[in-house]
């Protein structure tokens, strides 16, 4: 183990800003993208459902 | 509808059109980014040299980006007959024109101001110099839109106006370029940017009063 305490871990030997800046933004991007896709999917599904039920009602 | 209502309706309309063309808002910005990034490719990668030319290059890039988007300021409205309808509207044409210029700045000028610090980093500018760069652009880009509108109106309906407009506006842009790039340079070389910036502000004030009037006159001529 290279780290003696959590504080040391988070300090990253003085490079905290750079290391966490990189990992943080990457993590954020990798989390946000699937979330946006989920939203996109549910929006499509909702509009499809609306269309279908409108069609059923008109029949 | 009062004057303000009409103004905001025009601004909203133009922003809506720009957003619909999706790419439009972003591409003016990208042009700025790409031009600013091309120079190091042409010139080489010595940091010292790059830092020296940074204010000039960034300002020229902003100027070109603003200029390129001038074509779409009136040309589309002219081609599809909207401009005719504007000229025939009981609302003063100057008001409608001011709205269009404001919308142009929001779409083509403001984004440049916001992205400029990032491009400045590419050229290794100091935080202070970056701040001056942003302020100079904040004063300068509306000036570019206002002056450019005159050029765009003058070349309207003139075939090949797309390139002619640059010929007309570039000379008018030169004072903005000199004071804008000068401000950043003065800051870098420790001379203080205040003088340049206040001259830029003075030019802007002048243009706000003068340019919409000149633009309106030019448009009326183009429609004859």
């Amino acid at each position: 183990m290279t780290w003696n305490s959590p504080a040391e871990f988070f300090a990253m030997g003085g490079y905290a800003f750079y290391v966490w800046g990189s990992f943080g933004v990457t993590a954020l991007a990798l989390l946000i993208e699937p979330m946006l896709l989920k939203k996109r999917r549910s929006e499509v599904l909702r509009s499809l459902q609306r269309e279908l039920s409108a069609k059923e009602r008109s029949q | 509808m009062n004057a303000f209502g009409v103004l905001s309706a025009v601004v909203r309309r133009d922003l809506l059109v720009a957003l619909r063309r999706k790419s439009e808002v972003l591409t003016s910005l990208f042009f700025f980014v790409i031009v600013a990034s091309l120079f190091p490719l042409g010139i080489g990668s010595e940091m010292d040299l790059l830092r020296k030319i940074a204010p000039g290059v960034l300002w020229v890039a902003a100027l070109l980006a603003a200029m390129l988007s001038l074509n779409r300021l009136f040309a589309n409205d002219h081609a599809d007959g909207t401009l005719e309808q504007m000229a025939l509207s009981p609302v003063p044409l100057g008001l409608l024109v001011s709205g269009k210029i404001l919308a142009h700045w929001l779409v083509a000028g403001l984004p440049l101001v916001l992205i400029a610090p990032l491009l400045g980093l590419q050229y290794d500018l100091s935080p202070r110099a970056l701040l001056v760069l942003v302020i100079s652009l904040l004063l300068g880009t509306p000036l570019l839109s206002l002056i450019g509108a005159i050029g765009a109106a003058l070349t309207l309906g003139v075939r090949g106006g797309g390139v002619l407009v640059s010929l007309l506006t570039l000379p008018l842009y030169i004072p903005a370029l000199i004071f804008g790039a000068g401000a950043v340079e003065a800051d870098i070389s420790g001379l203080g940017a205040a003088g340049h910036l206040s001259l830029l502000a003075a030019l802007l004030t002048l243009a706000v009063f003068f340019a919409p009037w000149a633009t309106t006159a030019a448009l009326k001529i183009a429609l004859e």
Binding site: - | R13, N76, G81, T82, E224
Partner: protein
């Protein structure tokens, strides 16, 4: 009342017309005909004040239109060969922004109703570039429905319209004239507007 006296128009080295004059009273309309290139479009642009006449003058309610300015522009609605539509905006947005630029507030509900009456129900949200030639013309004509101007000047309004739309436009014009409005139209087809006074003005080539 619109009076034109002794109008002349020159394009290049060609004199399109001269000594042209007419008086248009409320409730009446002028049917402007003539061969291709006889100067109909040029005359209409002069009448609305977009281009200057070579000679002669135009008076609206007795005053020269150059001096009236905004007041005359408020009184006139003009539709040229072009439709003044933004291809990116939907039919509804085109209608609303068109009205706003003439200083008139048109909400979305009202706009939809107007689009419905020009036969574009269900196409309110289609960007104008997808509309067919005739559908574009219909959107352009919808401005007649919110216009409050007494004088309509229309350059070939029937072009690209199908039979139903032609009938609708004739009825709309009849209503406008019956309410004391005035109109000037050009067309290469025959136009029949019921219950109105028509003056024919023929430009010779």
């Amino acid at each position: 009342m619109l009076t034109a006296t002794d109008l002349a128009c020159v394009r290049g080295d060609r004199r399109l017309f001269s000594g042209l004059g007419f008086t248009l009273e409320p409730g009446a309309w002028i049917y402007l005909t003539g061969e291709n290139g006889s100067g109909k479009t040029s005359l209409l642009r002069i009448l609305v004040g977009l281009s200057p006449a070579e000679a002669g003058e135009i008076r609206w309610q007795g005053s020269a239109i150059g001096r009236l300015g905004d007041e005359y522009r408020k009184a006139v609605t003009y539709l040229g060969h072009h439709n003044a539509l933004k291809e990116e905006l939907t039919a509804r947005e085109n209608l609303c922004t068109g009205a706003a630029m003439a200083g008139i507030n048109l909400d979305a509900g009202r706009a939809d109703a107007l689009l419905g009456s020009v036969g574009l129900a269900g196409r309110e949200e289609l960007p104008a570039r997808f509309l067919s030639q005739g559908q574009k013309r219909r959107v352009a004509l919808a401005r007649l429905l919110w216009s409050e101007s007494p004088l309509w000047i229309l350059d070939e309004p029937f072009v690209a319209l199908d039979v139903a739309a032609v009938a609708w436009l004739a009825a709309t014009l009849a209503g406008h004239l019956a309410a004391g409005g005035m109109a000037i139209l050009t067309s290469h087809q025959e136009v029949l507007i019921e219950g109105s006074t028509m003056q024919t003005l023929r430009l010779a080539a």
